[in-house]
Amino acid sequence: MSARGPLRVVGQSVPRVDGVEKVTGRARYVGDLTLPGMAHARLLRSPYPHARLARIDVGRARALGGVYAVITGADLTWCDPYFGPAFRDRPIVAIDVARYEGEPVAAVAAVDDLTAAEALDLIDVEYEELPAVTTLEEALAPGAPLVHTTAPLAGHFADLSTLKARPGTNICHQFHYERGRGAAGLAEADLVVEDTYRFPRVQHYSMEPHAALAAWDETGALTVWASTQNPYSVRVELAKMFGMSQSQIRIIVPHLGGGFGGKTYAKLEPVTAALARVAGRPVRLAASAEDAFRTVRRCDARVTMRVGFRRDGRLLAVECRADFDVGAYADIGPRVVQKATYTATGPYRVPHVRLDSSAVYTNTTPGGAFRGFGVPQLAWALESLVDVAADRLGADPVELRRQNLLAHGEEFAPGDTPIDGKFEESLNQASEAIGWTQATPSDRGKGVAAMLKASIAPSVSEALVRMHADGSVTVLVSTVEMGQGARTVMAQIAAEVLAVPVSRVTVAQPDTSVTPYDQTTSSSRSTTLMGRAVQEAAEDVCAQLLAAAAPHLGVTVAELTVDDGAVVGHDRRLPYPEVLVQRFGMAGGELIGRGVVATGRSAAPLGGSTPFWEMAVGAAEVSVDEETGAVSVEKYVSVADVGRAINPLQCETQDAGAVLQGLGHTLLEEMVYEGGQLLNPNLVD
């Protein structure tokens, strides 16, 4: 793009392309959609954290007027009822055993929501309570009751096929990584600091709870409007569960009311699709906020870390032992565990490393992806210990970090992408902005922290860009707009390459029968990877424009370029609509460009090299009430090294939102369990 001079649209904070529909209330989310004859679904949930389902009597519920379908685990003989990206360990509704308080044990579809609720009351379930494990300690104790008694089936995703459960325990995956002399490196340290850190269970609380609307058509094909961050992952799961070709399944994603990882991989789609099949009509399941707390959460963790330093402050070795609680079903928990553990050493140069972690089943809400993907759990431990070490070494915490930061271009781990940002600049900016060297009143304190995160690898994104007869443009991508502004960014990139105003570009909603493959909208990958695919697709269209215009203008393609909606060269210009007429011989037809980004596998420790590193530094000034101990954040500075910002305002707002979510975790939020019961599945408690 730069070959054609300064950027015009990329780098500008253009207004959101979906802004007007959102401020006028016209934007549609899954829960806003209706279809003729649509039934409403509700789920009956287990009141026990672990129980055998001795008997479920749905006779009275089925007989209730207005009830179209009632599903229990015993009814699911017509499909493969298990799903899950890491292991297929999660049934559509509980089969024989309920493994957490709140697990669906039956599902109902009825003419309206009230009738569905009434039907739930008519379902009679006889539970036989089983001993439960609801904390990491209980789950890892010798002889602990097992959440799953049989080996879980391999999940739907090939890149997770290496996951290994430890039979006879609640450990569903273990990760080990070593470099240098491993933990032995600690022996050479002048100072070893060690502690154990706990990270609580927290919920994403997307303002929009999960929702799905499923409809089977007369050809036997299935369409699901889903509140999902990755329609293609949902599609592959449904295809296997219902024995269908992927082409027969259409996942459409309208606006998403926030995701934060909680809407990655299948959640409510399997049960909604199953209900629609049995009911013989479209079914919508719009979860409540309380349901969301029983659908997915962040993995809580217990992290024990030992960090060794030389007297001069050089970081020498890190040993980490982390247990992550993935709840009753693994979801993507095992990948969270291994990917986060891999970067447990943060943004620092550490010669000797030994990292071990486990994903542990407990009888609680499944733990999955959540913004940061396991990294906050570990960064909390490491950064705390760096501060302890600074104190012991008599070093300044900022200086100690600066001394050990990985430099631009330096290797993080053999075979992986070298560090592609400048941590030191971020640290300098953050410490300056917080006034690190200035005196602080006695009731106040300052702190800094740094973090490093890998994006998902291998990574695949494909895009199509269509230029229509009037020169307007449609971008087809499966990147989900969930608030981050992806549609705006994709429109900017296409507008830049094709030299048209952003207003001439429409970004289609994800629809697996229309928009091409994308792995996932998560891992901070969309702008970089899908953005690149859109750029390539637009460049493809551009090349076709030049090729079509060249003969008409009597020049070679090399002499042409695009500018302001026209092909130009040799003081002549041919507006796009006329180029298309040249190409097709009439005012019809369209140019279609394709862009594919596939990073492929590599020799990096996790099997793929991260396409980029996520790097951030935070600095806070807090005050503490000396009588109550209450902490209040007086100032917070966040520096994210994002490279070139396509839309700086959107970057800023994204980061501000992330900071507040992190502060919530740190100071306010926790899902509290007592005796296996979730006590606060809402906003009040």
């Binding site: 959102k22 016209r26 303002m207 009311g257 409540s288 906020a289 707002t653």
Partner: protein
Amino acid sequence: MPAHALLLDVLRDRLDLKGAKRSCDMQVCGACTVLVDGMAVSSCTYLAVEADGRDVLTVEGLADGERLDPLQQAFLDHGAVQCGFCTAGMLLMAKALLDENPSPTRDDVVRYLRGSLCRCTGYVKIVDAIVATAAREASPA
């Protein structure tokens, strides 16, 4: 319409006004906020019959045709919109505030919005947008 019908359900299901959203369903998050005779209420816990004969303003009624309300425009200009799920409730709460107090301080805005949750923006831009709207209304260009 049954006597127990909630205003939110009547708006969304009977009148097809989907702008107000159901989120916490317990009068805490503000996503369902609408104005009844100018007063902000949580329509998820407000009986529709209570609104009988009264003036109900939803987000759909904020703009004058295609001309956006100054608050709507300010939310766009300041980047106060992300996923959009809280936006309708935020806008109406902000309108109630400005109707009540045309020149609020930042602290006033923050206090007034304590019952309006947003999980995307971190609130800063929302407060910016409301304060800027108040300032512009106070001294029209």
